[in-house]
Assembly symmetry: C2
Homo-oligomer: 200 residues x 2
DNA sequence: TGAAGAAAAGCACGATCGGTCGTAGCATCG
DNA sequence: CGATGCTACGACCGATCGTGCTTTTCTTCA
């Protein structure tokens, strides 16, 4: 079997550790020192793979995005177009939030909140780009639901995406701040209400 | 004229600077060094007024809360009970968000997002307590609207508060992440939709 | 006015941060 | 096999952090 070059294997391992670390202390708390310790490598050894902290953050973020696509987006898209697909996206996202390590929850939403007030830079740009993609995806699903005749013809897909993300974020935030899962119920109720008002 | 003791005046001045600073760099970015520079006082001089950074953060947070009560809550409560009062709260809050210095916006919501994943401590507890008070206030307003016959009798006030806060937070977040005010429109639409479904 | 006490300054500490540098060892490939 | 180049190391840097300790300066009030 064609084993990957050692450097690639090391890097992949380090990146997995970085993702776990970012999941528990955030991307800003993802320091070279702690990551080096956790990964069993020297701090300076990390610089062979990541040219700066920002570089490390971005690569870790991309790994998280790939995981989100695998675990949430792809399963949703396998559902049939329209409301079922949207429901599945919501369900998957709720699970994804709950599967995230305490106390951070959804690492992508965490990043969005963490960098929304950061000075401009590559990491912030990556976060904004990710958000834009998500917004676009939800808009597309909403448009499909309109075309399928399930959503009201006068529905603004962008407005739907804004509110959909709002519900997801509200759950994420309540879970982090109050440290209970009881708000999943409220988020689901809000989502159902949102769906109901979108139906004809 | 009975002038306040000088120390009190100094402390009040420093606290105002601290609030401005926290508004632009967050409570975690509120460091003794930068605050000392901004307030024209020495770093160690600050210790005469604040026994620790946490103490400084908490006192600054309380000042912000007082301002929120003055500028948003009190005007709302002067409106008549029920839907008008709730509308006024929402309007005032939107203005409050927009009046906040770029890029942070509402400093209280900022703090909620900043400390929701922080380790337990006095500051986090203060933030959680503030959130609880806000949630309780909104619940009360919703109950009043039910009693006034404006909201559906079957409405769950806690659910309403959850969604109300969700809309406010969604606007706050979108404004910070995307750095435009165009989402005020979306937030308002979401709020109107929320109100509409609460009406009988 | 002068004594007592508080406010502020000055200085230094240990820790942690992101990051650099020279070097040694080991994997890779001709 | 042997040369080359990447990987990883340890030491170290300057900056910044929160927070002591000591000393000076200024307020306050009898």
């Amino acid at each position: 079997m064609a084993t990957l070059p050692k450097s690639e294997r090391t890097k992949a391992r380090v990146l997995r550790e970085a993702l776990a670390l970012a999941g528990s202390v955030g991307f800003s708390g993802l320091t070279f020192g702690t990551l080096a310790e956790q990964a069993g490598i020297s701090k300076s050894g990390l610089f062979a793979h990541f040219e700066s902290k920002e570089d490390l953050q971005i690569q870790t973020l991309h790994l998280a995005e790939d995981m989100f696509v695998d675990r949430v987006l792809r399963p949703a898209v396998q559902e049939e177009r329209g409301a079922p697909r949207i429901r599945r996206l919501f369900d998957g996202w709720m699970d994804w939030i709950q599967s995230g390590a305490e106390p951070r929850g959804d690492i992508l939403t965490s990043a969005a909140f963490e960098f929304d007030d950061a000075p401009d830079g590559p990491m912030r740009a990556a976060v904004v780009a990710g958000h834009g993609k998500m917004q676009g995806t939800i808009e597309r699903l909403a448009r499909q639901a309109v075309e399928a005749g399930q959503f009201n013809r006068k529905l603004d897909p962008a407005q739907f995406a804004f509110e959909f993300l709002g519900v997801v974020h509200a759950h994420h935030h309540a879970r982090r701040l109050l440290r209970t899962d009881q708000h999943a119920r409220r988020a689901r109720a809000a989502f159902e209400r949102l769906l109901a008002t979108c139906m004809a």
